[in-house]
Amino acid sequence: MFAGKRLSKELAKMQGHLPPGITFAKSDNLEEWQMDIRVLDDNPLYQNQIYRLKFTFSQKYPIEPPEVQFISLPASHETPRPIPIHPHIYSNGIICLDLLSTAGWSPVQTVESVCMSIQSMLTANTRDERPPGDSDFVSYNKRRPRDINFQYDDDNV
């Protein structure tokens, strides 16, 4: 009830206007939305590339954070979408960002503000690397992103 009303408000607002580099990709229902983002400056790591974010909302959104991760669409797809390289983004698309955790979330955040935070997280990055332990994490992780206790120990990127 809470989530549905709030999401319809956000959807209506987004159909009017979104910040540059952020576009609405699709939503088959109100529980899952996909957004496309691209970096606006000429950061060579992300040039000419569009990335797809998947938002999954619980009934308690926006009191609880949405689950947000990158998803990939193969190069053969009509709209190919890779997973951006970043020291806080695992190669399976899971993002380590404190505002997406229960502890860092605030109910005044929106899909738009989360997209902008992730966009600026990419813009600011200069490191062509995955998080430490990426291959192990990707092979063994069966948990959902919000159940993972990330250590937000790196304030530099």
């Binding site: 009830m1 809470f2 009303k5 709030r6 408000k9 956000e10 607002k13 926006p62 009191i63 609880e64 229960t102 502890a103 979330w105 605030s106 109910p107 005044v108 929106t110």
Partner: protein, 109 residues
């Protein structure tokens, strides 16, 4: 000519003293509208004005404050959320813990 009133009905309107386009940051509904848990706006769906300058529908803020993860903080500025009470009553401020207790009593009553 003498006129006698047999019956009259008084009608009045009121609104929150807030800018028209201001929305509650939690539910994104205008302050004059009602929060998502209420059917009608008005006295039963009050606003809370925070000492930090941020306002919300009372029900929206309480839903947030009752989450352990909120730590009692304002969703906008992450300062402790304390609301401006009615200064004339001598209750200049009341913190969210008191509100939580009041709400609980209401529910029990």
């Amino acid at each position: 000519m003498k006129v006698t009133f047999k019956e009259w009905n008084a009608v009045a309107t009121w609104r929150w003293d807030m800018p028209d386009d201001d929305v509650c940051g939690i539910c994104r509904v205008q302050f004059d509208g009602t929060c998502p848990t209420c059917k009608f706006p008005g006295d039963d769906c009050a606003l809370l004005l925070g000492k930090c300058g941020h306002s919300f529908h009372m029900h929206c803020l309480m839903t947030w404050i009752q989450q352990e993860a909120s730590k009692g903080l304002c969703p906008m500025c992450r300062q402790k959320f304390e609301w401006k009470g009615n200064e004339e009553d001598g209750n200049a401020t009341q913190n969210t813990q008191d509100i939580t207790q009041d709400t609980t009593q209401d529910i029990q009553a």
